[in-house]
Amino acid sequence: MADPENLPASAGGRRVDEATGTSTVGHEWDGIEELNTPLPRWWLWTFYICIAWAFVYAALYPAWPMLHGATKGALGWSSRGQLAQEMRADAKRRAPVVNAIATTALTDFPAKPQLMQAAVQGGGAAFRVHCIQCHGAGGAGLKKLYPSLTDDDWLWGGDLASIQYTITHGIRNPDHEATRASQMPAFGRDGILDAPQIDDVVSYVRTISGQEKAGAASTRGAAIFEANCAVCHGPGGQGGRAVGAPKLTDAIWLYGGDRDSLSATINQPRNGVMPRWNSRLDPATIKMLSAYVYSLGGGEKAPPAAAKPEGQGVDGQP
């Protein structure tokens, strides 16, 4: 009878391979057999150490799912806790810059390029959270709704202090005394001007903005303009920033510069509203937002003290 050790694997034996002198493991897969080459023992110990490590790890960190939540682990670690820790560390890292922004007057920022840069960065982040809903991701605004913040035309002033004031107090907030406020009358709806008069004013406005040639209508319109509009929009339509009256001689039209749009505006103005942010954002964030908006391309130098637009009385608007 054959030695059972040397039976072929198919017969349940563990053959000793002739070429190597090593026994096979006793399995056979389509004629392929495996030699029984012992693993190094340290390999086994490494395996045991890994198992032990797994127990330690499971005891230290959240691991076992329970009915409500999971085991907490001896270290009390959690991903939320780690995030909070990282946020605290980052706040600490940013503290000197935020502090400098809070304690420096906004008008001094341009003289400190590094501070200005930091403020623009921080303002950009705040802008993406609070402002893009209306003014768009790049501050381009939305035609016929919200003004572009990137151009060189400003309703209420484009220097740092004016922008800061606008963001702080908002525009036409009924509940806030210091808000930027003005109201363009509804010349058409309220019957101050009749339709042909409005048509003439439209002709005049399109003439001073270079969209139409002067004619009889625009000459008639000029007189109506001087009587009704120039008090806010200035003589010749130069605009009046103290009351947020747009300049009418340039190429920028928030609510459209064609005849229909102009007629509609004069008939029933929009009197756009912007929320005030001093109730939601801290002064440092508003400073950073101002610096960011200022940097979008239309920022203006602060006007010389004498030429400052007249404030609206006691509220001290710039």
Binding site: R14, S23, V25, G26, N36, P38, L39, P40, R41, W42, W43, L44, W45, Y48, P113, G136, A137, G138, G139, A140, S148, T150, D151, D152, D153, G210, K247, D250, A251, I252, S295, G297, K301
Partner: protein, 485 residues
């Protein structure tokens, strides 16, 4: 937990304990070659970070520095920026082709001579000999009881292991920061935690791999032996025991008693005694053989003593082995090494190296990348002009501050200004200062008349104003509102 001894079946253990390897001291040409390589490689490894290289006041003065924090790689006068990482890729490809070349020509020479595992194992084995004595003394001590002497010797030996391991780990971090500064920071506790962690990990791995794992790393852990085996052919040089000359083995006494009955091998076991991986080369090529050729030195020494021709164990190709077995004479070493396969590898290797050197010589160190701001695409200005905003990234890759000019071409009546300037003072081109060895981001405003095509390609170019006028340019788009808006 089951003890490993229980995990056996009738065919023997499933797990094998490591057999101690106590290589005997040997001398010979290959041993001396290994000494030289060990000296050179260790000197390069430990010493390189301390070589100084003056790059002026705006760049580090360390010859070889991987500045991870600032994403710069300095190697003597070459500085590599992250976007030039293809040079590193090229070096890696050269290393790969080089390995093909060496392996196809001389087999596992990398394993036998230059691999860090081999070099450090060799170093640690010299420490063993220094403290414990040569092979026999080492075996006696290992098998002997724990006497005071053994305890003392083990303490001293492991202390030296630890010292070498620590020095090895410490040298590694010097490549990543200014070496003298980091050294003083390290000892005053001011270095970054990652520095201490790296030193600790590398000290541990060197201590374990060099002091204890040794040949186990090569036999069980390392993928190279498997890959290299696939790269060898019948014309690659292998450390070969010439069995047709040596067999049957017999001691000198036996050979004298029966002249002509025995081969040249006197079965002195010296080839086994000197082997750093503890194998018997006479069993033929095997995964444990790192081809360090110390058995050749040992056997040649013995053959000389007994007055038989050298080369019983020798570098030999499989082809030559077949020829010699049949009584012929193998090819010369020169012919073995210079054959189409090795020459093709060498050609590719040189071609890649030459291409890299050429492109290194050609590269400009002033680079421009322009990004057109897409939100908004264009801005209507009050005087009817259109403004587009761009973000310029100007890379000054020289280690000196520079002044450069930025100009546009192909956009009539364009005016440019930056955040620092105003449109009133804008002109056709502007000058900016670049900090040394850094990227300067410039927000560029470009205004052009409103009348013009809706989309217009034009060129923004940067050029040096301080001697080297070479620069870079980028073609980018200028957008205007659609007609009728």
């Amino acid at each position: 937990m089951a003890s490993p001894e229980d995990l056996t079946d009738e065919n023997g253990p499933l797990y094998a304990a490591r057999k101690g390897v106590y290589p005997k001291k040997v001398d010979g040409p290959f041993r001396r070659f290994k000494w030289a390589i060990m000296f050179v490689t260790l000197a390069i490894y430990y010493g390189t970070p301390w070589i100084r290289w003056d790059r002026g006041p705006y760049a580090p003065d360390q010859a070889v520095l991987v500045d991870l924090a600032h994403r710069r790689f300095f190697m003597f006068q070459i500085e590599i920026w992250p976007h030039e990482f293809y040079y590193v890729a090229g070096l890696l490809i050269m290393a790969g082709i080089g390995l093909f070349l060496v392996t196809s020509a001389v087999g596992r020479a990398w394993c036998g001579y230059a691999c860090p595992q081999t070099v450090w194992t060799d170093l640690f084995q010299h420490v063993d000999r220094l403290i414990d004595g040569d092979r026999n003394a080492q075996i006696r001590l290992a098998n002997g009881p724990w006497t005071f002497e053994k305890l003392a010797k083990r303490t001293i030996k492991y202390g030296i292991y630890l010292g070498v391991a620590f020095w090895t780990g410490g040298a590694w971090i010097m490549y990543f920061a200014d070496a003298p500064t980091l050294t003083s920071q390290f000892w005053t506790g001011q270095a970054a935690p990652v520095a201490y962690g790296t030193v600790a990990v590398l000290t541990a791995t060197t201590f374990i791999f060099g002091g204890f794992m040794r040949e186990q790393v090569c036999i069980y852990m390392c993928p190279w032996p498997r890959i290299q085996t696939a790269m060898m052919d019948e014309k690659s040089l292998l450390v070969t025991y010439k069995g047709w000359r040596g067999e049957p083995r017999g001691s000198i006494k036996k050979a004298q008693a029966h002249p002509g009955a025995f081969g040249d091998c006197i079965d002195c076991n010296q080839c086994v005694a000197v082997c750093p991986t503890g194998i018997d080369i006479r069993e033929g090529p095997q995964i444990g053989c790192i081809t360090c050729a110390l058995c050749i030195d040992a056997c040649d020494g013995v053959m000389e003593q007994v007055g038989r021709p050298r080369g019983l164990i020798d570098y030999c190709t499989l082809d030559d082995a077949a020829v010699e077995k049949a009584g012929g004479v193998g090819q010369t070493v020169r012919k073995t090494l210079l054959r189409p396969r090795t020459l093709i590898y060498l050609g590719i290797w040189i071609a890649i190296g030459a291409a890299m050197l050429f492109s290194l010589g050609q590269r400009t160190r002033l680079d421009l990348a322009v990004q057109h701001e897409r939100s908004p695409l264009y801005v209507q200005l009050s005087d009817g002009h259109i403004r587009n905003n761009y973000t310029l990234k100007v890379r000054n890759m020289e280690t000196r501050p520079r002044r450069v000019a930025i100009a546009v071409d192909g956009l009539p009546d364009a005016r440019l200004w930056t955040e620092a300037g105003t449109r009133e003072r804008a002109s056709q081109h502007l000058e900016i200062a670049l900090a040394p060895d850094s990227v300067t981001r410039v927000k560029l405003f470009v205004a052009a008349p409103g009348a013009g095509p809706e989309r217009q390609d034009f060129t923004i170019a940067v050029r040096g104003l301080d001697g080297d006028p070479r620069g870079d340019s980028d073609i980018i788009q200028f957008d205007r509102p659609e007609a009728g808006q």
